[in-house]
């Protein structure tokens, strides 16, 4: 008997048992569907994280206080200062730098009319917009003269605007109170969405000098003004390492760190961040895939179960087939092909289901775009063929070994 014949025989008998075939396939459908959906969520998260890190700006280095990696010893205090930022900006110190943006973030109570709640107030310089590739939607951003005079002006994040102006009023020129001090709104930022540091759309930006002089005068022992983070934009991707080295050397010198001591700051490369988060989301994807894989395995066992029942139930049929000339190979092939057809058909339907599930999740979530990768489809398909082959083999083998005389006598 040819493979085509086995296939036709298998399909005939699957059609003859429609309900049972459908129920058997259900296990595989759900299994493959789960694999596809969960992998698409995992991949969606991975893409989302990567994109949001990259959307922070191009060729960016983050200089933050303390050491990454030794949580226990990490000093919680701020170590970087406005003067550090100015030194990094000096091309004689770090030649590859094209922009530096120090930022000092503090929490403060902000009020307007009857609305009042805590916001993150970020003190920045005019360069922030360019370095972080983050611009105003309405009005203008903080300029040099605002910084020079510690002006009481504020630029609202998109969410901050919606909270403070819930009716959608025209905000430019209006007054808000930060810790009781009146600030004039001069601009509203474009919506950036979430990124690696959470969403910044809820922030309020003011000149960095205003934070020091009017809100929180955070200084170190030498009287230098502290900052939370310094963003450094480097001229080109291949200069990132050199810039990192230069900044590290410069800051060690400025902070009087001795040869044996650790840095009291960290210079983080965007690419490093992508890699770190990539690892985390990779584990997440693997985890989701493993859970889905278990359901696929259960589906496979379902196939084996049904095939064993089917072999017992069709003992007489096997006897008849053998009596009229079916060889062991023919019977083996028939049942094996049946199992594979079940699992492949289930796999195909599962891919459709998983794809639909992935689309549904994508539609339900605003920020997550799930992604069904060809790799996941290939994986699910080959897995379901393997499941059919593996779990179909034993029942098929049992069927092929039946003695025709006993099989014919079977009631």
């Amino acid at each position: 008997m040819t493979l085509v014949e086995s296939f036709r025989t298998a399909v005939d008998s699957l059609i003859a048992n429609k309900l049972r075939s459908a129920l058997t396939m259900l296990g595989i459908i759900i299994g493959v569907g789960a694999v596809i959906t969960l992998l698409s969520v995992g991949q969606g998260v991975q893409r989302f994280v990567t994109q949001s890190i990259q959307s922070t700006g191009t060729n960016l280095l983050f200089v933050i206080p303390g050491q990454i990696g030794d949580e226990g010893e990490r000093s919680t205090g701020l170590t970087l200062t406005l003067e550090d930022a100015e030194a990094i900006a000096d091309p004689r110190n770090v030649p590859d730098v094209v922009g530096v943006a120090p930022e000092l973030s503090v929490g403060a109570r902000v009020e307007r009319g009857r609305v009042g709640r805590r916001f993150t107030i970020s003190g920045v310089t005019p360069d922030f917009a360019q370095v972080r590739n983050f611009n105003v939607e309405v009005g203008r951003f903080i300029d040099e003269s605002d910084v020079a005079v510690s002006a009481r002006v504020a630029v609202l994040g998109a969410d901050a605007y919606e909270r403070l102006f819930p009716e959608g009023e025209y905000a430019i020129g209006e007054t808000i109170r930060v810790n009781g001090i009146p600030f004039r709104v001069i601009g509203i930022m474009e919506r950036k969405g979430g990124n690696a540091f959470g969403s910044e759309d809820d922030n309020i930006w003011v000149p960095i000098t205003t934070v020091h002089n009017r809100l929180f005068d955070l200084r170190n022992r030498r009287g230098e003004r502290l900052v939370t983070v310094i963003y450094v934009q480097v001229i080109a991707e291949d200069r990132m390492e050199q810039a990192t080295e230069d900044i590290t050397r410069l800051l060690r010198e400025r902070h009087n760190i001795r040869f044996r001591d650790d840095d009291d700051f960290s210079v983080i490369n965007q690419a490093d961040l992508v890699a770190v988060f990539g690892q985390i989301t990779g584990v997440l994807t693997l985890f989701l895939g493993a859970i889905a894989g278990i359901s696929l395995l259960v589906g496979g066992i379902g196939i084996m179960n049904i095939m064993l029942v089917s072999v017992t139930e069709r003992t007489r049929e096997i006897g008849i087939r053998k009596a009229v000339g079916a060889k062991r190979r023919d019977i083996l092939l028939q049942f094996l092909v049946e199992a594979i057809v079940l699992s492949v058909l289930g796999g195909a339907l599962g891919i459709l289901l998983g794809w639909a599930g992935s689309l549904a999740i994508s539609n339900m979530s605003e920020s997550l775009d799930t992604y069904v990768s060809p790799g996941a489809v290939m994986l699910a398909t080959s897995f379901s063929v393997a499941v059919g082959l593996f779990f179909g083999l034993y029942p098929a083998y049992r069927a092929s070994r039946l003695n025709p005389i006993e099989a014919l006598r079977y009631e």
Binding site: M1, A16, R316, I320, R321, K322, A323, V324, G325, K327
Partner: protein, 260 residues
Amino acid sequence: MAEDVKAALQARQERAEGSTAPLIRLENVTKVYRMGTVEVHALRGVSFEIREGEWVAIMGPSGSGKSTLMNIIGCLDQPSSGHYWLAGVDVGTLNDNQLAEIRNQRIGFVFQQFNLLPRATALKNVELPLVYSGNAHQRRERAIAALEAVGLGDRIHHRPNELSGGQQQRVAIARALVNDPDIILADEPTGNLDTKTGAEIMELFRKLHEERRITIVFVTHDLDIGRQIPRHIWLRDGLIVADERQPAEVGEDGRNHDAG
């Protein structure tokens, strides 16, 4: 009748006339089953020959070993000792696959229980041996021809549960015929049918035997059936106790004139 069937018939007749070698030859065949620790001697040394074109009834009470003998003749089982030559081939030396091939090419089975595939149409059931012979050529046509030969040309798309017992047995006979076998082995083929239908089935066998000169081996314990068959081999306790021909009811040309 299709051309190839005619040709095969021609060839068979020439073979039967030209050669003296028997189609079936058993020599001292025994069969021992082991049931737990007990050995059951189903056949204790059976020898006989059946020539091409003969119609033989293997008769005997239940437990006499006639089913075992039929399984061996049908190549579903092999002798424990002794030899069985089918058309000159020593069946005892064949492996599983070769036995399957012989069953497919040379033997047609008709069972008491009909043994049709319940979910397949009459046509599909009759096509089954052709599926395993690897011969896709004119499969459908040959199956339809076989169904027409047993008078079921108008029932080819019916499933077994839509057919009467007699019709089901006709489908089974068509299935046995479709590969144009040397032998038809029938195990109590009328055992599940009422007298009238049984007689119709016997008439069909007689017609096939006459028209096609097919060798037919019946296994039965029904004396009424046996009376219509020219040669009887009687078994008792695994041994042949009688091998007789009945010239009284069978004419010189091998035809049975007065049964029905």
